[in-house]
Symmetry: C6
Subunit: 76 residues, 6 copies
């Protein structure tokens, strides 16, 4: 991928960190399936399957561990 | 998502931390499937499937690792 | 949940820590399916399925990581 | 469980630590299904299923992370 | 494998670290299935299955935890 | 198992560490299914199933986290 999409793991707030975790999770998918049309077609399938949604949330949770550690958990 | 829902990972007690882990797990789902009616319709499906419940508990466990570390495990 | 069920992650022994990890894993299920009758009905299903048992053991392992770190691994 | 089976996470060697990780993984199963006869009956099912074996190895890997950290990775 | 393919976990940027995590995930597959023709044949199967894509993204997330820690999260 | 197969987690290079992670993953399987003939028979099944390959890569990733931490990420 030539595009620059990730320059830092540091965010201002935990919520921005959680949203970065979502970005990382989606990018992990995109490196395997780069075609946006295919991804668009697959979305309604897993977005209506509870086990697929739990699995998606799990990837976000794993990436959020990384982002949260990078930000020292946004401790004041 | 424009709504602010996560301003800190710090909680007073481990139980509140566990409940925050549940919130994070549900938000991870909501970013993929934001429609509350769909989520409501899916609930009875996975809430009666033992493997789905174990999978849900696993996501909570992963998020609880993050929240517990953020709170230095609520050590006195 | 109004009930207080988790006031500390600190335990005297690793075995008590492992048992706390089991409690955390069950609570993760209970927040999704709070009805004890449903949970009771589901138990024989997954308790006789080897893959379900492995999955349950995995959630315990993840929660045990958290409890063990909280207790500094019960190092003397 | 009244029996004492886990008094320390410290082992002399990494291999003993890996074997402790296996014990922890099996105990995680046993708390859900304590009947040794049922466990014995289930064994040939998952011991001949490659995905079940990979899943079992994954639980061991997670528990080994905990044991290895407890032992400071057996660094000299 | 005789080929040298991994000499360091250190990367200049988080994005390069993420791409290294993808490499590690693919190498984990390749050690089990080294035949490039088989891998090529399998690709369209999982690249069009949403649950397979989520599972692939999860392995990347786990490897990214390792690479990010190695790089001290690219903190300035 | 009486055989000594793991005396240290320390390796010279990250690639050797990755290969040790593969050894750990296979040993995790072998403790559950020690019969080499059965393992040999199962191999073509999961080596041609993309989801099985992803699952195998995930166990390697988890074990690599342990080995990499043990080696302080091979930082110079």
């Amino acid at each position: 991928m030539d595009e620059t999409w990730l320059t830092t793991l540091i965010t201002d707030t935990p919520q921005q960190g959680f949203e970065l975790a979502i970005t990382l999770s989606r990018r992990g998918v995109k490196y395997t399936q780069p075609d946006p049309e295919v991804l668009h077609k697959l979305r309604p399938i897993y977005a209506n399957n509870p086990d697929s949604l739990t699995a998606a949330s799990q990837v976000v949770a794993i990436n959020f561990q990384t982002v949260a550690a990078a930000n020292n958990y946004w401790r004041k």
